[in-house]
Symmetry: C2
Subunit: 370 residues, 2 copies
């Protein structure tokens, strides 16, 4: 896949149209996923302002520190035919950006991850503008993955699956979580990811903390281990998959609830199809877990959207009535956590298609005993 | 060094006092360097709100997603005796934080890197508060490094110096910039850094772009190569050092301006002492470079502060009249860049002491011909 497939030149016009339709005067996109999505430019977040200004009408332009101009020119953003407005060390780039934009008395959309050091400067430079999130415009586009984006998520899924297939060979009693995690991190990079975004290796009682990272705890025989891993491909798209392993035969109570969890995760994946609400996917998993008496031990939402961010919209959570559409991509990752004892989670990335959900991960979901 | 040395428990009270003195009602610190500086907690930036609320008077508390509670409790923040206010997936953490804070009609300070997705939610939750940067309070503390912080910067300097000492063995004609950079990145991690923050390997004409990253360009005999590298230690403190090497004998014009640069960098380091302004350090380097006729080729400021961020205050730039004080830590990194041909930069981290500047880096500054 090339930048032109994943970050098509036509996207800027679509964003501009959506900006106008949403009643915003402009989007102000500083480095981060919003900027990358619109322009393909994976700019470094720095204290010096880089900002793509997308007015609802008229020409878009990009404020760039003179030092970063060669990088911007070498980036996919150069395909867009934008003007790069280079500013010098003693200039005020906020004032320059505002002056070019002209009077703004309506709304401006800020990149969701714009730093306060920039949003407050833009507030001064555009005092009559009401700041809202650019996400209010971009979410509608970013949630609906194109075929090229779905292919990139599939590639990311295959890459992280290749790492999970190595995990049984890395897990054994006597190793620490940290030792295992180090090997996994190397395997994530070797599998084609540009970055390692997270490596959770949660053994025994640590498995009961859903966001446990790693520790120097030594893995014991008979212990379940939750392994939740992901990274970002060079093209920007992210992987995220969880499997729970057992080092030797697990406790009987664990095996019992693991089977409940497996059925719940399967049911939630099977429930994915256009028109079904996000919260009903959450409910599909939660109802089975609660029905088996483990409801209080499933302490988080069922999933999050994924694309050029590991966590983005849509969120698969109670209260989110948004109906699924083809191209929506998200995790389905219910878990059961028994405090002080152990826990389990199973996670696949699922893309909604016309005919149902397509999983991006396909390593075994049955308990793997190593 | 332990967390208690670098992130002392007493800091929270000092921050609270500074907040009151600056006339702010509270600081709102989301994950990033400001939160880490105050609490020692290196929290992951996520869409779920984690926020240390520091009122000018009364008890500080930390909003934490329930999922992250074990991580927060296991972090150095637990030493502070704070209340962790855990919120559940369907709660509105902004409303909860605001309700606990009570009516705020004055100023609240936002972490400089707070994402717009949070600052705009806080604007709704605290509609009468005026948002300013927490940096306006914290900069006064963060700029003045403690002896423990200076020791951490020294440790970071020694670690990155050990990498620069390996560079002559990695650079040779026929290798690509990317191949060299990969080896350097591995050496940065092996030297004790937790992360590789940047690896610039800029050969020949690429050396004329100050923020060139790496490319697949093959290094040629007789070419200067700018190598600017840095990372973050596990304790949070950062390294950053640049040396320019030559693969074989460089062009005579290069050797001539390299010597000017070396003298300029030396003069700027020698000018460091309490009471001297930031901009006069910039001028100390710039005057020598301009005096030799290369003024137009030195296209950036002379330096940036460094600590738990690679770029922080104070900035060593024209227009910054702030006088140096003992404990101020910053880079001194003039450069000369001849577009289309080659360039050079020399960078040390310098800490201002009572008796002058102490350099944190000590690899040779003379041109190293490999």
């Amino acid at each position: 896949m090339t930048s032109s497939d994943l970050y098509p030149v036509s996207r800027l016009a679509a964003v501009q149209e959506a900006t106008a339709k949403a009643g915003l005067d402009a989007l102000l996109l500083t480095p981060g996923p919003d900027l990358r999505y619109v322009s393909g430019y994976d700019a470094k977040p720095l204290e010096r302002l880089t900002c793509l200004v997308v007015p609802a009408s008229g020409e878009a332009y990009m404020m760039v520190p003179r030092l970063e101009l060669p990088a911007a020119q070498a980036s996919p953003a150069s395909r867009l035919g934008l003007e790069f407005v280079a500013w010098d060390e003693t200039d005020d780039p906020y004032a320059i950006a505002a002056a070019r934009l002209g009077k703004v008395a309506g709304k401006v959309g800020l990149a969701d991850r714009m730093w306060a050091m920039s949003s407050l400067r833009f507030r001064e430079a555009l005092p009559e503008a009401e700041q809202v999130l650019a996400g209010s415009v971009l979410r509608e586009l970013r949630m609906r993955k194109s075929p090229a984006e779905t292919a990139a998520l599939r590639e990311a899924g295959q890459a992280i699956d290749s790492v999970h297939r190595q995990v049984p060979g890395l897990l054994r009693a006597g190793r620490t979580e940290r030792e295992v995690a180090k090997d996994i991190a190397e395997a994530i990079l070797a599998s084609g990811h540009a970055t390692v975004d997270f490596v959770i290796v949660a053994s025994g009682p640590n498995g009961a903390s859903p966001h446990h990272d790693v520790s120097d705890r030594v893995i014991q025989a008979g212990e379940p281990v939750v392994v939740d891993i992901g990274g970002q491909l060079h093209n920007g798209y992210c992987s995220d998959s969880t499997r729970t392993y057992s080092v030797g035969e697990p406790p009987a109570e664990f095996a019992a609830y693991y089977e409940v969890l497996r059925q719940a995760q399967d049911a939630a994946c099977a429930a994915v199809r256009p028109g079904v609400s996000c919260e009903s996917i959450d409910a599909a998993a939660r109802d089975i877990i609660a029905g088996a008496g483990y409801g209080e031990y499933f302490v988080h939402r069922t999933g999050h959207g994924i694309g050029i961010e590991t966590h983005e919209e849509p969120y698969i959570v109670s209260g989110n009535g948004e109906p699924l559409e083809p191209g929506f991509a998200f995790s389905v990752e219910p878990g059961i956590y028994l405090p002080g004892r152990h826990g389990a989670r199973i996670e696949d990335i699922v893309v909604c298609t016309e005919s149902g959900g397509e999983r991006m991960n396909d390593t075994p979901r049955e308990l793997v005993i190593v």
